[in-house]
Structures are given as structure tokens and as C-alpha cells.
Amino acid sequence: MTAPPKLHSFAFAYACAFAALYVIALFRDAALFTVYPSLGIVLWGSRHSRDVADPALGFLAPEMLWYGWAATAAIGAVPVGLVVALLPDRWTRRLWPVASWAVPVCAMIGCVYFELPWFRR
């Protein structure tokens, strides 16, 4: 059985929105939550240990933002996918053949740019 076109539109829009929102979350430091694995706690929003006291805390209580960035993208992409799924099929039909792979590739290039400081040390 063929999947409904609306489901296709949602899935393709979700993939594009997820990739775009992930990079935005990365650059804007917009994690939905921050995980402190050594303390076993989770706090809402983007938190940095050194914000609270001093840089040494970054080693004592390292923060993890990856889960939060992924959550921001995963949740934020849902409304985008739903809105796009409601659009007429003829509006979006020509978009997906390129956008479905080009947006994730552009997002990956954005991630490379974001991580460049590690390679300049």
C-alpha cells in the first residue's frame, strides 16, 4: 500500500526542518535542556557550568547539550512538518526531490563550520 501523500510531505518537511533547526540550535545555543552526567541532573535550557561559578566547573561538572539540541530540532520540526503537510501537494511536489537531501547536506556543512575551531588549535 502506498503511503498517503500527506505523510510523505510531513516526513520530507520534517527531515528538512529537523536538519535546519538542529544547526540553528547549535549556532544559537538553543538546547531544550542540558544534561550534567556527573551530577545526574537535567536542567531546562542551555546551561554552561562556567556560567555559574568559574571555568574549573567545566571539568568538575561537564555539561552535555547534544541531547537538548536534538530535542529542540525534533520537537520544533513537528509543527513545520504539519503545516507543510496541509499545503496543496502541487506546491511542494517539486521541492522534495532536491530539498530532502540538500538541506541535510547543507546542515552538515554548517556543523563542520561550527566545529572548525577544534581544527585550528
Binding site: H8, Y14, W69, A77, W96, W101, F119
Partner: protein
């Protein structure tokens, strides 16, 4: 426990690597190779049959990686920072980002391979290639990270 999870993560990744590589080659390679040649048989796999396996293996591998990552952040990364393995840290961060983007791509990838195939072959092949790149990159960077410190160190 973490070592066992890491080994399981690696094994799932190997299975995923095999499935996605078969599918990508089958989707991209020209049909010129003889049907009895190694390459001909390698690309002759029924590509849609791999989609379910790829989605499940990718999700399981990402989940296991997400669990192991907690220990990595506490026990391994500080040592990498102390020893100045900046490029390795950068490559591992890239792996995280690519894996996350791949997770978002999974539903569209899965739908594109559902029979009857409703998406153009080129779009399907391109999405599969992006996912294959992510899997290969993740696999290799995971190995680099594992090998820098060595097993049990």
C-alpha cells in the same frame, strides 16, 4: 557494563554499515556488471528490503551511542582535552551532529523505500547516500576515538 554496551554499539554499527552499504551500492551502481560477477551480485540485492533493517539498526545504534556518550563525556573526553586531542574531539562532535541529522532523515528515508516506490529513484538514492555517509563517518570516528586511548585504558 559500559564496555559491554560499547561493544554492542559497535556490533550493531557493523550490521548497519553492511545494510546501508549494500543498499547504497545497489541504488547507485550502474547495471553493467555481469550478473555472476562479485560486483553484480553485490548490487543485485533487493534494496527496499534493507530499509526496515537500516531504520531499526540506526535507531538502536543511536540509542546505544546516546547511552555510552554519557560515560564518554565524564571519563574519556576530559582525558582527550588534557592530552590535546583537539581534532579528535572536533571529529567526534561532528559525528554527534551528523548522527542527529540522520535521525531526522530516517522517516523520509523509510517512506521513500516503501513499495510501491513513490519517490523518484534519484531522490531515494541521494537520501540513502547521505545516510550512508553519516553511518560510515560515525563508524570511523567511533573507531578513531576508541583507538586513541585503547581498550580498557
Amino acid at each position: 557494563m559500559v564496555t559491554a554496551l560499547l561493544i554492542l554499539h559497535g556490533l550493531v554499527a557493523v550490521a548497519l554499515l553492511g545494510a546501508i552499504t549494500h543498499q547504497t551500492v545497489a541504488a547507485w551502481a550502474p547495471a553493467g556488471a555481469g550478473p555472476k560477477s562479485f560486483f553484480g551480485r553485490f548490487r543485485a540485492v533487493p534494496s527496499p528490503a534493507f530499509a526496515n533493517a537500516v531504520v531499526v539498526l540506526y535507531a538502536v545504534s543511536a540509542l546505544l551511542g546516546g547511552i555510552v556518550y554519557l560515560d564518554f563525556r565524564i571519563d574519556v573526553r576530559p582525558i582527550l582535552e588534557r592530552d590535546g586531542h583537539w581534532q579528535a574531539i572536533g571529529l567526534f562532535d561532528l559525528k554527534e551532529h551528523f548522527i542527529a541529522i540522520g535521525l531526522g532523515l530516517l522517516p523520509a528515508y523509510w517512506l521513500s523505500w516503501r513499495r510501491p516506490l513513490a519517490v523518484s529513484g534519484w531522490t531515494r538514492a541521494a537520501m540513502t547516500a547521505v545516510l550512508a555517509f553519516i553511518v560510515w563517518f560515525g563508524f570511523l570516528m567511533g573507531h578513531v576515538m576508541n583507538n586513541i586511548l585503547g581498550f580498557g585504558s
